[in-house]
Symmetry: C2
Subunit: 215 residues, 2 copies
């Protein structure tokens, strides 16, 4: 049984989709002009159409606008970043110190994304042998949101240099929720096809053929 | 500094992208006609343009064609599924037993996706405080692959009802790799906008507004 006719995704669309994937970036340099709040609602709605294990919809999006909360996140980043820096040997440390790793000062929209292990949906289906599917479902939603943002000219930066433990209290999120991503969202200062870390000489991209194995 | 001019993602493209997200499904009913091997290479290449923490590119794709390996995966699924079934109470168990949960018998392409914790790229950046970013990067790549497949008319089903422990040996994958996803890929028998688990009465989708919180 089929319902409505599926749209035809023709070669022209496919080509543009591939370009979208190619031009998606982890953005850390944002313009400070505001983002239409309707965009945020749309991005969350798009993200919620992502697959989730057992259709358990474990994603919880927290839009962080409170200045004190934002400051707490920035402090957490600064501490975590200083600790990460201290673990590198001299040459790498100097390079690390020059990297721009987050857009927390400028991004007009900040969205924390959590997984709710107590999600009341899905009756546990599909995550008995791989319970991590709960978190993975939320990650898939983040990637959908990221691409949807790019179709709207918006850049996303995923800040992972954070200690997740104090984040629930800092953002007044229920204790059982697990932080998956802290996203900076806004209009990017620059557009690139190559990752920032490649441009900065930290790590190049590798030929995809190197990642495909045949059995 | 900007490089090439970014393509304009206009409203018509955005609308079609949103439709793509809406028509993506977890497919379990596949036609058995073969998939052009070039498509698989393209999908892996697209997936490798996904974000990865520190640009560490931890994704490892194993294309499983060997019949004995496929049989081992099917047996693993059957065992894991029987165990999952036994955990449900009567009414739910009957409903669970009727669900079609994997396309392992028919899908012409089967792709195991692993994370390599020993990836030689990225110098550990961005995963000191959240080491799970390694696995999350691979999940993002799976979601990109999923959408890219749909632009090519291909369906993807993510089989998570598997015991991951014996999978490395079964697929001759290096021991340290961690199984993230086992994907069935092929042309879908049917096209739908609603998830299979919704049609089967297992779990409906919830209004996305319920998942957005403001602080």
């Amino acid at each position: 049984m089929t319902d409505k006719q599926a749209p035809l995704f023709d070669p022209a669309f496919r080509e543009k989709f591939d370009a979208l994937v190619q031009w998606r970036r982890d953005v850390r340099r944002f313009r400070t002009d505001p983002v239409d709040p309707a965009h945020v609602d749309q991005l969350v709605a798009q993200a919620c159409l992502s697959p989730s294990v057992g259709n358990c919809q474990p994603w919880r999006f927290v839009l962080v606008e409170d200045p004190a909360m934002r400051a707490a996140v920035r402090d957490n980043f600064k501490r975590s970043n200083a600790e990460a820096l201290s673990a590198y040997a001299e040459g790498r440390a100097a390079l690390y110190a020059r990297l721009k790793l987050a857009g927390l000062d400028d991004a007009p929209v900040q969205l924390a994304v959590f997984a709710d292990p107590e999600t009341p949906y899905g009756h546990g289906l599909g995550r008995r042998s791989m319970p991590e599917m709960l978190e993975y479902s939320v990650v898939g939603a983040v990637q959908t949101l990221w691409l949807a943002a790019r179709t709207r000219g918006l850049g996303v930066g995923w800040v992972s240099i954070l200690d997740p433990k104090p984040m629930n209290a800092a953002l007044d999120a229920p204790k059982p929720w697990r932080l998956i991503a802290y996203l900076c969202i806004g209009y990017p200062m620059e557009e690139h096809t190559d990752p920032e870390l490649e441009r900065a000489g930290w790590q190049d991209r590798v030929d995809p053929a190197a990642f495909l194995f045949r059995r």
